[in-house]
């Protein structure tokens, strides 16, 4: 059973990292969007493997079905205006690569140094069987204030997006 768990994890991790690498290197932004979608779905699989089934479905709903759809919409809207072969990478790509690798090495070193100090629980008895109920309970009891603030944030985002992307702004002043 744990072997299957490991195989699933490695498969999903490879899918996520591979899709992410392909995403940042594609010239065609529709392809990049599809690869990000694949990475998000692989991440949703990782959530499910961590026994967070509500987060799995919220990830698919929000990220894959909502945010990525928004991205592809936006790409479709700007597609005809893009010149044919724009340069892909910025001038500072070498410095950026080196910096990223250094940062990655630092955090990797920290993780390896602290390995073995934390052990995953064999079974999460209180969050696994009724995950949705547990999340809902926490969200509406302990975290009710952040919840309301989040809904106001979403309202602000909607209004802001509509206002910013309106044409003929002078006409409505």
């Amino acid at each position: 059973m744990t072997v299957l768990n490991s195989i699933l994890f490695y498969f999903l991790a490879a899918l996520a990292i591979g899709s992410a690498l392909l995403m940042v290197t594609r010239r065609n932004i529709v392809h990049a969007a599809i690869f990000l979608l694949a990475a998000l779905l692989a991440t949703a699989g990782i959530f499910l493997q961590l026994q967070a089934d509500f987060l799995f479905i919220v990830q698919i709903f929000l990220f894959a079905g909502g945010i990525m759809a928004l991205f592809v919409f936006a790409i479709m809207l700007v597609r005809p205006g893009i010149p044919s072969q724009p340069p892909r990478f910025t001038r500072q790509r070498f410095v950026a690569t080196i910096l990223t690798l250094i940062l990655a090495a630092q955090v990797f070193f920290a993780v390896v140094l602290g390995s073995g100090s934390l052990r995953l629980a064999a079974r999460s008895v209180d969050i696994a069987p009724k995950n949705t109920e547990a999340v809902g309970d926490a969200l509406f009891r302990q975290f009710i204030v952040p919840f309301e603030i989040a809904s106001i944030l979403l309202l602000l985002a909607m209004i802001g997006a509509v206002v910013i992307s309106r044409r003929n702004r002078d006409a409505f002043d």
Binding site: D53, F61, F73, M76, R79, A171
Partner: protein
């Protein structure tokens, strides 16, 4: 002469057709050296291969007018796979629908949310086809919002997201959820009709002749292939509607357990067998009156299969419980989904012609607010009936009346449509 030799050969091989052999396989002329050593099996394959060639030509010609608008999507690979995305998502969503008490591919704890999430992934199959389908995708998303809010009304009643639990709650409460939240069902039904209606959302307000718009735009075969996710989605939405609102695999009066005297057969369980038998009788009556032989054969064979179904359904009453429940559950589920799809297409082709902005205004101004209010009222009804002990039927009738009042007020109190000239002139 070559035909004569082949027909005399064919006397020893009664299975192959002489004319096909002689025209295709045997070139006219001196004797074919293979005639003496041909076996029946190689004959069979040779005939098959040559008979397959005309059908291969047909397939090739179906792709002749295939238009790939790759100047719009900039990715022909994705364009060719969009139909697959929608179709696969519909098939995945089917895996959580319970067809019988033990007849479910998988029962997720979050079944209802899973189905909604998978449908929201299906819009990729719509708008990756090019910029012209953005309007279609926007229509689909607004309908999906109304569907989600309407399904929440039934979710309140069942208390669980698992599809099996939803049907079980309808069994326990003794009432299909459509009778508790009818407004939810109406919103769900209408929104799913609009969501699945590609012609209405995509066509340039052309009415019912835009059924062929896909074929005119993309070529015959591709238009037909891209109708596939549409029909799969209709089936999935009908399946969700029956599971959540119409009681899934439950019999119409599922908690009415009166039995025949001295047997363990419940009274109402003979209904499937009677229905199948009635259908068989109807087909038997209709069959001799048909004009063509093909129609007669078709009706006789459907009558025969109805008889077999009736016998199976009746015999299963005396078998093990699980078999009976499985068969009867499947019968009721299929009957309900069939009725759902029938009404879908009937209302859609009769009433819904492509009026995109009217649909959008209807969705966002009336249906979605009504769904929210319905959620509130249903919650009030449930809590009231739990606290005061009033029967749920009464409180839900009151809440439905309140919701309908608000909906009518919304429908009548419409602000006038802003005209384009006024906005440009400002």
């Amino acid at each position: 002469m070559a035909e004569n030799s082949s027909t005399t050969d064919k006397a020893t091989e009664p299975d192959s057709t002489p004319e096909l052999e002689s025209t295709i396989l045997e070139p006219p002329g001196p004797e074919n050296p293979h005639t003496a050593t041909r076996s029946e099996l190689s004959e069979f394959f040779r005939v098959l291969l040559h008979a397959g060639r005309p059908s291969f030509d047909v397939v090739r010609h179906l792709f002749n007018d295939d238009v790939t608008n790759d100047h719009v999507t900039a990715s022909p690979v994705i364009f060719h796979l969009t139909w697959l995305m929608g179709f696969v998502m519909a098939l995945v969503a089917f895996s959580v629908l319970p067809v019988g008490p033990a007849f479910q591919i998988t029962d997720l704890n979050i079944g209802l949310l899973f189905v909604l999430g998978i449908s929201s992934l299906g819009i990729y199959g719509i708008f990756l086809r090019g910029a012209g389908s953005l309007r279609e995708a926007a229509g689909f998303i607004s309908c999906a919002t109304a569907i989600a809010l309407a399904l929440l009304g039934a979710l309140l009643l069942s208390g669980s997201l698992s599809m099996k639990e939803i049907v079980q709650a309808q069994l326990d409460q003794g009432q299909w959820f459509i009778f508790y939240v009818p407004v939810s069902f109406v919103i769900y039904f209408f929104s799913s009709m609009v969501a699945a209606d590609r012609a209405a959302l995509d066509g340039p307000d052309a009415g019912s002749e835009s059924v062929g718009a896909q074929m005119a735009k993309y070529g015959i075969l591709r238009g037909a292939i891209q109708a596939l996710p549409e029909y799969a989605n209709v089936a999935v939405l009908a399946g969700i509607g029956t599971t959540v609102f119409l009681g899934g695999w439950l019999r119409p009066l599922a908690s009415y357990h009166d039995r025949f005297p001295d047997t363990s057969v419940e009274l109402l369980d003979v209904l499937p067998a009677i229905a199948a038998g009635a259908l068989a009788l109807y087909c038997f009556r209709l069959a001799p009156k048909q004009d063509t032989r093909k129609n007669r054969i078709a009706l006789f064979s459907s009558a025969g299969s109805c008889v077999i179904a009736a016998l199976l359904l009746a015999a299963s009453l005396f078998w093990r419980d699980s078999v009976m429940q499985g068969l009867h559950g499947a019968f009721w589920f299929v009957a309900k989904v069939g009725a759902n799809i029938y009404c879908f297409h009937w209302i859609r082709f009769r009433f819904l012609h492509s009026e995109f902005d009217r649909f959008m205004r209807l969705q966002w101004r009336i249906l979605i607010p009504t769904a929210c209010i319905n959620l509130l009222m249903a919650a009030v009804a449930i809590v009231t009936s739990q606290n005061t002990g009033l029967p749920m039927r009464f409180t839900t009738i009151v809440s439905t009346a309140a919701t309908l009042g608000v909906a009518f007020w919304l429908a009548l109190h419409r602000t006038p449509k802003p005209s384009m000239q006024a906005a440009d002139a400002e």
